[in-house]
Amino acid sequence: MIEVRGLGVTFPGTPAPVLRSVDLDVRPGEQVLVLAGSGAGKSTLLRVLAGIVPQVVDAEVTGVARVAGLDATTTPTADLAAHVGTLTQDPTDQLCLPTVLDEVAFALENRGVDPGLIGPAVHRTLASVGAAHLAGRRTAELSGGEGQRVALAAALVADPQVLLLDEPTALLDPAAARGVARAVRGAVGDGRATVMVEHRLDELGHLPARVLVLGPDGRVRADGPTERVLHDDARSLAGMGTWLPLSAELTAAGVGSLERLTVDPVPTSVPGVRVLSARGLSVRRGQRTVLDGVDLDVHAGRVTAVVGLNGSGKSSLLLALAGLLPAGGTVTGGSVGLVFQHPEHQFLARSVHDELAWGPHRARLPDVDERVSAGLDDYRLRGLEDRDPFRLSGGQQRRLSLGAMAVCGHDVLLADEPTFGQDRRTSAACADALRRLADEGRGVVLVTHDLRLVGEVADDVLLLRAGHPLALGPVDDVLADDALLSRAGLPLPAVLAASRTTGHPVRAVLRALRTATLPAPVRA
């Protein structure tokens, strides 16, 4: 079904190829999971198979890529689509039509399917991904999770022989991610070849039978049965920064279970002065109250994590704390910086250097040059000073937006989903950066779907459900309370569940696991 021989891809203006001599055969009915670190070329591989690279996106491609018997590098993308269903990386940007029905029907209309057959097929496919209730909705009004399900239905509706999925759960809360993972599993039908990129392996529940691993140099590092590849190569996979399921991570750490791990105590952070204080905070957006009665104190030196399902009001809370949304209640305290979820929304200058200098300039700080220089080092942006911020990779953009906010010296730093879509290594680096800011004496508030990240950096946790605070307390207490978590609708990741049995504080366990699996500690 898929036959790739000696595939090489080089993007214009870049010296090194992204993919080098990649070979891949996928038979009908087979499912393959692609694993690699950030920027290793996973999406590029899928885009070659879908006929996008080099036909829509310029690149130099060598070797052979045949999909469903057609040459993917020359067959027009739209013609290849008769055999291939594609879900690209950013779900919100692939909904192109105003209503859910039109969106899902689109692929069938383009194939000239008899109009009478389209309606039933659309409803059937929506139901198969658990989105039957969305049939009457407009696409612009869908939440991230709902949108991702509709996009999946739109890719599946024409019953393609080949299915390409690029991080189908990236933006979802843990519960919705499991829902979509189930839908993907259910959709993997008879005779269809599937290639999938996914970071959240523990949420996936049940991994595809075969894994393809790409190395940082763009070559195939391993290809074979999932169990064998993950366990034979666990150490080197972990070293490359890819996410792994818990069992493979334990193998990489060289232990059979978390209890065997040597856990060094980590210092608990002592709360410093109170730098921000919110009382009875409530926010209305549109016609609805999306946040109600939240009390929160932020202390210097401590990281507070805010968690909850999609749409529970986390981002609204940060906006209100930063004074960007009209809110009921009071917020008092020092100056507040906010790092938004999409770095692109926050860039102001035409070079990395100017971007870092922007805040200090505005604040008329005396030592702008020193601050910029420190920012370049702390956030590993040396060598990129003259680059346009929009021209950075996703991970680099994240670091820049964090750095540009950090150099301003605010008393409080708020960060919205700072690690989404990042691999294990960059995500750990980001966690370190936040921890360091707190240790320097700032107050940090972090919004995330990744409970493991919470365990790794947070001191306190605020649990939100539908705009209401469910609990606020020390991280070890909140993560230990099953009843509470299930009321918030948040399933516990396997690694946190396992860490309970060790009897150590969760941060100490996660640190130990990280030291044992990620080679060198990386600075942001």
Binding site: P12, G13, V56, R387, R391, S393, G394, Q396, Q397
Partner: protein, 204 residues
């Protein structure tokens, strides 16, 4: 000039340009209304100061996509969006306005057979767009039979040169620097002249 069929991504790019320029104009309409009121009986002249901004999508589209007709197409699409989705009080006449202004802006590029994209062409394009729009006003509002015709003409052409022609090149170059235009004729042309900023881009 190229004879290849216009690609879907180019068509969508034109639609996005049309929509965003329409929207940004709409967001700045407050400023226009304020200016109109502040200028009292001369309020009608406010539109001439800003007219260039209305037309910037045409030379910008030509700069990026570099094929005949896209200047007109993008202005038509912008008009369609304003009429159909934004309920413009001008009504379907806006389609004619878009056609005429787009044709004015495009004339300069047609004269160079879509081969040259230097400052001179952009200045000429803005001036011709301002001129075309003045001619249309003569038909719609009888400007010729009014006082101030010379003022109107002068303001329209000046605004066309500045806010339409020159602005289009400035915006186009800034956009190209960000990498969003790498897979367009503008991006490819810049790569050929090996500018220093064609480095890796975040993935689309």
């Amino acid at each position: 000039m190229n004879r290849r069929r216009i690609s879907l991504s180019e068509l969508v790019l034109l639609a996005v340009l049309a929509v965003v320029s329409g929207f940004v104009y709409w967001a700045l309409v407050q400023a226009w209304i304020a200016l109109q009121i502040a200028m009292g009986p001369f309020g009608d002249l406010a539109q001439h100061v800003l007219i260039g901004g209305w037309m910037v999508a045409a030379p910008l589209a030509l700069y990026i996509v570099r094929r005949p007709g896209v200047g007109i197409v993008v202005e038509l699409a912008a008009a369609l969006v304003e009429v159909v989705f934004l309920a413009s009080p001008v009504g379907p006449m806006l389609l004619v306005v878009g056609l005429v202004q787009g044709a004015g802006a495009e004339a300069a590029f047609a004269l160079t057979r879509y081969r040259r994209y230097d400052w001179g062409v952009f200045v000429l394009s803005g001036a011709l767009a301002g001129l075309a729009s003045t001619v249309l006003g003569m038909v719609r509002f009888g400007w010729l039979t009014q006082d101030w015709f010379a003022w109107r003409l002068g303001l329209q052409v000046a605004s066309g040169i500045l806010l339409c022609g020159i602005a289009a090149k400035v915006i186009g170059d800034a956009l190209a620097r960000t990498g969003v235009l790498d897979n367009t004729p503008l991006g490819r042309a810049r790569r050929e002249t090996t500018s220093p900023d064609t480095e890796p881009v975040p993935v689309a």
